[in-house]
């Protein structure tokens, strides 16, 4: 299965900004931040089309997102994921003594994930965040 080695960028989008006002647990918010914008040529190389699920992995983990044809192309080998709980799953917490983790420009890998599903926020919290004290 083809894999794309890419540079991962995160950032704000106007949809992420407006949909979060409907509540973080709303379906609208989930749809606005569980996307991965990919260059159309890269999508062809990966063999994915609009709205197919893809797995985006970094050295900190992986997450399933929805592939979206980037309206900001051309940007070969660069992918964009809006800020949010899903993007945070694959961010590294190392700050190299600056207090700021590298949230833009991380090396990442993208591949098809047709069998996988995008987690809801509650599923994500259950799966990845465990409380250890009561």
């Amino acid at each position: 299965m083809p894999k794309l080695k890419a540079t991962l960028l995160t950032g704000r989008t106007i949809d992420q900004g407006t949909e979060r006002e409907r509540g973080k647990f709303s379906e609208e918010y989930r749809r606005s931040v569980t996307i991965c914008e990919i260059d159309p040529d890269d999508m062809k190389r990966l063999g994915v089309t609009e709205n197919d699920n893809v797995r985006v992995s970094t050295d900190s983990g992986s997450v399933i997102l929805r592939a979206v044809k980037s309206a900001r192309a051309p940007h070969p080998d660069v992918i964009f994921v809006p800020y949010g709980p899903w993007a945070s799953l694959i961010m590294n917490s190392e700050t190299h003594g600056t207090g700021m983790p590298l949230l833009k420009g991380l090396p990442a890998e993208v591949e098809q994930a047709p069998e996988e599903k995008i987690l809801s926020l509650r599923e994500l919290l259950e799966k990845h965040y465990k409380r250890e004290h009561e």
């Binding site: 106007i14 509540g23 900001r72 192309a73 949010g84 961010m91 833009k104 420009g105």
Partner: protein, 479 residues
Amino acid sequence: MTVISHITCPVCGDFCDDIEVTVEDNVITDVKNACAVGAARFLNYATHRRTKPLIRKDGELVEASLDEAIRKSAEILADATYPLLFGWSSTSCEATRVGLELAEEVGGVIDNTSTICHGPSILGIQDIGISSCTLGQLRHRADLIFYWGSNPWDAHPRHIERYTMFTEGRFQRSTWRKYVSRLGGTVTEKRLQRTANLLLDHHPPTPIETGQGLPYTMFQKKRKMVVADVRKTRTAEAADYFLQVEPNRDYELLQAFRMLIRDGELDVEEVAGVPVELLEEVADVMIGCELGVFFFGLGLTMSEGRHRNIDAALSLVRDLNQYTKFLIMPMRGHFNVTGANVVFTWQTGYPFAVDLSQGFPRYNPGETSTIDILRRRESDAALVIGSDPLAHFPKKTAQNLIKNPLIAIDPELTPTTLMADVVIPPAYVGIEAEGTAYRMDHVPLPLKKIVDPPETCLSDEEILRRILNEVRRIRRKLN
């Protein structure tokens, strides 16, 4: 029905102060002048808010009285040896002031969201210094607007309209008409191209102009906009010049500009993916402007180089001031993140990441900053106000945050409030409670109270004051 005007918008760092809202029976029914995000906040804030405090009992969050929630919060903080007090960018300066008093009382670390936003900018400014101004000055006088690693179209939707390109200043005209006619041209061009591609079946589509050729506005004597970014954002589409920099190579490009401005020659074809020919053009425009401004965003602070990128940007602006007047300003994210920095500095001497565990303020980002403290799992409790670290911190740090008792002061249901031990929903500052906040250019403006809060919701300031009093009572009892 009451119409209230001159409302400030408690969303982004632009902190627009011309919002008009219509209120009927204590409900906001209409909003004018706000951007999509601002309007969504005013119209939707009440639809998914909580009104009752919650305390975790036997693993479940259950409703509790406000007194009970405050007592529990105070106990958590009084018991902790190294608590972390985080957030502060979406609350009032008055609340932050009480927060600092609380941090001193409990001997913890207090940090605001700039730690994971413009923290590197602050480090850069402390190294180099900053030549800045207010947005009003720029609105009337700036004839060159530079956005680097910043996409106001999505993150500060009214910035271009209110302060830069599309505003009618006293000495500078708006370029809105030019943009609209160009947009029309681009749309027609794309349609023609699509039709041609359909007619000439199987021919590969002609590549769309990336904007890196020589700009057509070269000799135009009007306000100009330059955008440097890793993708051609909507902001970049509105620009006269667009420099598509390769990810993580901003520092290189900034230093190349510094070299060109000092009459140096670049013995290469391109720097960071941008042709040197274009860089030379833009450098000429920068030197030739009457008043330029350099707005920079998280594209510089969150990528490789962090504060060193900011050092280079600040130095570039300093160099430019040998030829013309040039100013620089960070595009701050939350409406009062600047205020949080101001109040922190006025109270402790440092703008963020302040450690008060030894009885006096210490500041050492990388050591006393939230992400590092959580990554090393040093804190043993946390209070989060007006922020959602569980959604926005890297996974490992967020996981460590919920390994210890967590207090969340937030009116919304967020991942952080859902995982907290105590949740206290306050009155929404700027909608249900008043206060003061600082716009991104350090201009303080009032946050207004438009509607009455639910009876069970106090202001952030009042909640923190009551927690502080309770902590003091517990400590007196122990002593």
